[in-house]
C-alpha cells in the first residue's frame, strides 16, 4: 500500500524536458519544500477531519443510549480521545510505525525523531522506520494522522459497552489497547511488518482500525454480559435509544470524517489522486444506505432509521481497505452487499444473546472483514501498479487468481486471533481485579448519576424542572394583569 510514488522522477523528467534546471536539481536532491508543504497541508487537514469523527461517535452513541446514560457516554468519548493521544505519543507510535522487527517497532518513543544512526533529520521528515522512511512528510503530520485513527478504533470498543461499564474499566483497557495492542497489528501492515512483506493490503484500516475495534468490543460485551432487560425469557427486547436525530447526526459526521480517513491515507497529496478515493468512499457509503434500507424493509417490514445509518457506516468501513485498489463500480457493489447484510446481522447478534447497542459487530466487525477480503476479489492490476504495489496480486474478478484473497484471508485471521485474544484476556483481568461492570443498582439508576454524579439531561430527573429561585418569571406573567392589587 503506502509506497513511494514515482512523482519525483516524473517531475524531474518534466523539468528537464522544459529546460528548468533549478527544478530538475531540486527534484534530484530530494523532496522540494513545496512538496513537503503540500503533503503536510493535506494530511493535517485530513487528520482534523478524522479528529472530528469523535464528535460523530459521541452523537451516534449518545443517540442510541438511554437518557440516563447520555452524559456518561459523552464523558467516555472525551477520555477516549485523551488516552489515545497520550498513549500513542508515548509508546504506541513507536511500536506501530518505528523501526523494529517484523512483529513490532521499537524506535521513536515519545516521538523522538532520531534515526538508528543517531541523526536527527533537519527537515523533520519521517526517518525512524524502514517502511515509511520514503514519505515526503514531517513525522508530526504522520503521528497526528495515525493518533486520530487509534482514537477511532477505541471509540468503537467503548460504544458496544455503553450503559453498563465502569469508567475505570474504560481507562485501563484504553491505555493498553492504544499503547500496545493496536500498534502491534498496525505495525504488521503499515509499519512494514510481516503482513506487508507478504503483500497484505489494507489501505486505510478496514481490519487494522475497524475490525480491531470490533474484536475488542466483542470481547468486552462477552465479558460484560447484556444490559439488564435486553433479554427477557430468552427473547431480545428493544431498548430504544433516546434520540434518533442525534444518532443520524453522528452518522453524517462520521461520513464527513471519512473524507479525511480514506483520502488522507496516502500520507501525501503530491502525485496522488486522493479525490478518486473520496469518490469511491462516498459511492460505497451511499450503496450501504440503500442496501440497509432494502434489508430493513425485507427483514422487519419497516424502514428502521438507525439501520439506515448503520448501512452508511458499514459501507464506509468495508470500502476503507480496498478503496485505492478497486474501480467505482466495485465500491458500489461492496457497499451495497454489506449494507444489505446489516439488518440480518443485527438480528443474528440478538439471537446469539450478545448485546450490541449500536450495531458495532455487524458494522465494524463483519463489514471490516468483508471489506478486507474484497481486495482479493476486486483489486485491479492497473491501480496496484500505479501505486507501485508489485508484491500484491489483482483480485479474482480481475484475472489475478486467488492469491491475493488468500493473503487477505490470513491477514484477517491473524488480526482476529491476536486482537481478540489480547482484548479478552485484558477485559478478564480488569473484571477480576477492579471490576468491569457497575452494580445492578447503579445500572438501573443510570451511569450519569451513579458514575459521574450528574445527569446529562438534569431537567428530566430533578423534581421541579422550571422552578426559578427568584421567581423571576412571575412578574412577567402578571404583567397582563398589572393593575390588579390586593
Amino acid at each position: 500500500m503506502r509506497q513511494r510514488s514515482l512523482h519525483l522522477g516524473v517531475l524531474a523528467a518534466l523539468a528537464l524536458l522544459l529546460g528548468i534546471p533549478a527544478l530538475a536539481a531540486a527534484a534530484a536532491d530530494g523532496p522540494s519544500p513545496t512538496d513537503i508543504a503540500i503533503n503536510s497541508m493535506w494530511v493535517v487537514v485530513a487528520a482534523i477531519l478524522v479528529l472530528f469523527m469523535q464528535a460523530g461517535f459521541a452523537m451516534l452513541e449518545i443517540g442510541l443510549s438511554r437518557m440516563k446514560n447520555a452524559g456518561a457516554v459523552a464523558g467516555k468519548i472525551v477520555i477516549n480521545l485523551a488516552i489515545s493521544f497520550l498513549m500513542f505519543w508515548s509508546i504506541g507510535f513507536a511500536i506501530g510505525f518505528g523501526d523494529g522487527n517484523n512483529f513490532a517497532g521499537s524506535a521513536g518513543w515519545f516521538l523522538n525523531n532520531t534515526d538508528a544512526a543517531g541523526d536527527t533529520n533537519s527537515l523533520g521528515l519521517f526517518d525512524f522506520g524502514n517502511a515509511l522512511a520514503a514519505y515526503n512528510i514531517p513525522v508530526e503530520a504522520v503521528f497526528f494522522f495515525q493518533a486520530v485513527f487509534v482514537a477511532v478504533s477505541l471509540a468503537i470498543v467503548f460504544g458496544t459497552m455503553l450503559d453498563r461499564t465502569k469508567f475505570i474499566g474504560y481507562i485501563i483497557f484504553g491505555v493498553v489497547f492504544t499503547g500496545v495492542i493496536y500498534p502491534i497489528v498496525a505495525h504488521w501492515t503499515w509499519g512494514g511488518g510481516w503482513l506487508a512483506q507478504n503483500g497484505f493490503l489494507d489501505f486505510a484500516g478496514s481490519s487494522i482500525v475497524h475490525l480491531q475495534g470490533a474484536l475488542a468490543a466483542i470481547a468486552g460485551t462477552l465479558i460484560l454480559g447484556p444490559r439488564i432487560g435486553k433479554f427477557r425469557d430468552g427473547k431480545p427486547q428493544a431498548i430504544p435509544g433516546h434520540s434518533i436525530p442525534l444518532a443520524i447526526l453522528g452518522v453524517l459526521i462520521l461520513w464527513l470524517g471519512w473524507m479525511g480517513f480514506n483520502p488522507g491515507s496516502f500520507l501525501g497529496a503530491v502525485g496522488y489522486n486522493f479525490a478518486d478515493i473520496a469518490i469511491n468512499t462516498n459511492l460505497s457509503a451511499a450503496a450501504g444506505v440503500i442496501g440497509a434500507t432494502i434489508g430493513s424493509l425485507v427483514m422487519f417490514r419497516t424502514l428502521d432509521v438507525s439501520q439506515m445509518g448503520n448501512g452508511a457506516i458499514a459501507g464506509l468501513v468495508a470500502i476503507t481497505a480496498p478503496v485505492a485498489f478497486v474501480d467505482p463500480w466495485a465500491a458500489v457493489v461492496i457497499g451495497f452487499v454489506v449494507g444489505l447484510l446489516v439488518p440480518a446481522l443485527v438480528v443474528l447478534v440478538d439471537k446469539l444473546k450478545v448485546d450490541d447497542p449500536i450495531g458495532c459487530i455487524p458494522v465494524h466487525g463483519v463489514a471490516g472483514v468483508l471489506g478486507t477480503l474484497a481486495v482479493g476479489l476486486f483489486a485491479t492490476r492497473e491501480r496496484l501498479d500505479a501505486l507501485g504495489l508489485s508484491g500484491s496480486s489483482a483480485g479474482i474478478f480481475n484475472g489475478g487468481g486467488g492469491q491475493q484473497l488468500w493473503v487477505q484471508f490470513y491477514g484477517v485471521a491473524a488480526t482476529i486471533a491476536f486482537t481478540f485474544t489480547c482484548s479478552f484476556a485484558l477485559f478478564a483481568i480488569i473484571k477480576y481485579t477492579v471490576g468491569l461492570r457497575v452494580s445492578e443498582d447503579d445500572e438501573l439508576a443510570g451511569l450519569d448519576i451513579s458514575e459521574h454524579g450528574m445527569y446529562g439531561y438534569p431537567e428530566q430527573f430533578i423534581e421541579v424542572p422550571g422552578a426559578f429561585p427568584e421567581s423571576g418569571l412571575s412578574g412577567a406573567t402578571q404583567s397582563t394583569t398589572a393593575t390588579s392589587s390586593q
Partner: protein, 121 residues
C-alpha cells in the same frame, strides 16, 4: 361547583382552549398522561426487536366550574374532541367541596368568577 376531568387527544386541545376562553372560562390545567383503554397499544420495531407500548400518551384537561357552566363546557369538549374512532377519550364530572384563591384567601364560588381586570382585551 364541579370539576371536569377530560382525557382527550392532544390535537383536540387548542380548539377547546380557544372556545372555553371565548366563553369566559380561561382557567384550566392540562397534564401529559399515559393510559390504556379500548384503543389498545401499538407495537414499535427497534433494530429488529419488537416492543409493545400498552399505554398511549393522552392529555388530561382539568377545569373547575360553576354547576351552570358544566354542560356548556362538556358540549365544547364533545364537539372538539370527537372523531368517532376508539381513543377519543372520556370526560369525568366530579363534585368539588370548596375552592380557595391563594393570592387573596377568598373562598367559594367567587374564586371561579372572572376578574374584572381579566376580561380579554
Amino acid at each position: 361547583m364541579k370539576k371536569i376531568e377530560a382525557f382527550i387527544r392532544h390535537e383536540a386541545f387548542d380548539e377547546i382552549r380557544d372556545k372555553l376562553a371565548a366563553m369566559g372560562l380561561p382557567s384550566m390545567s392540562i397534564s401529559e398522561v399515559k393510559g390504556s383503554g379500548r384503543q389498545g397499544g401499538y407495537t414499535e420495531s427497534y433494530r429488529g426487536a419488537k416492543t409493545t407500548i400498552f399505554m398511549r400518551p393522552k392529555l388530561k384537561l382539568e377545569v373547575v366550574l360553576d354547576d351552570s357552566d358544566v354542560e356548556l363546557a362538556v358540549d365544547v369538549i364533545l364537539e372538539c374532541a370527537h372523531t368517532g374512532e376508539p381513543g377519543d377519550g372520556k370526560i369525568f364530572i366530579i363534585p368539588v367541596d370548596d375552592a380557595v384563591r391563594v393570592r387573596t384567601g377568598e373562598r367559594g364560588d367567587i374564586v371561579l368568577a372572572p376578574h374584572q381586570e381579566d376580561t380579554p382585551a
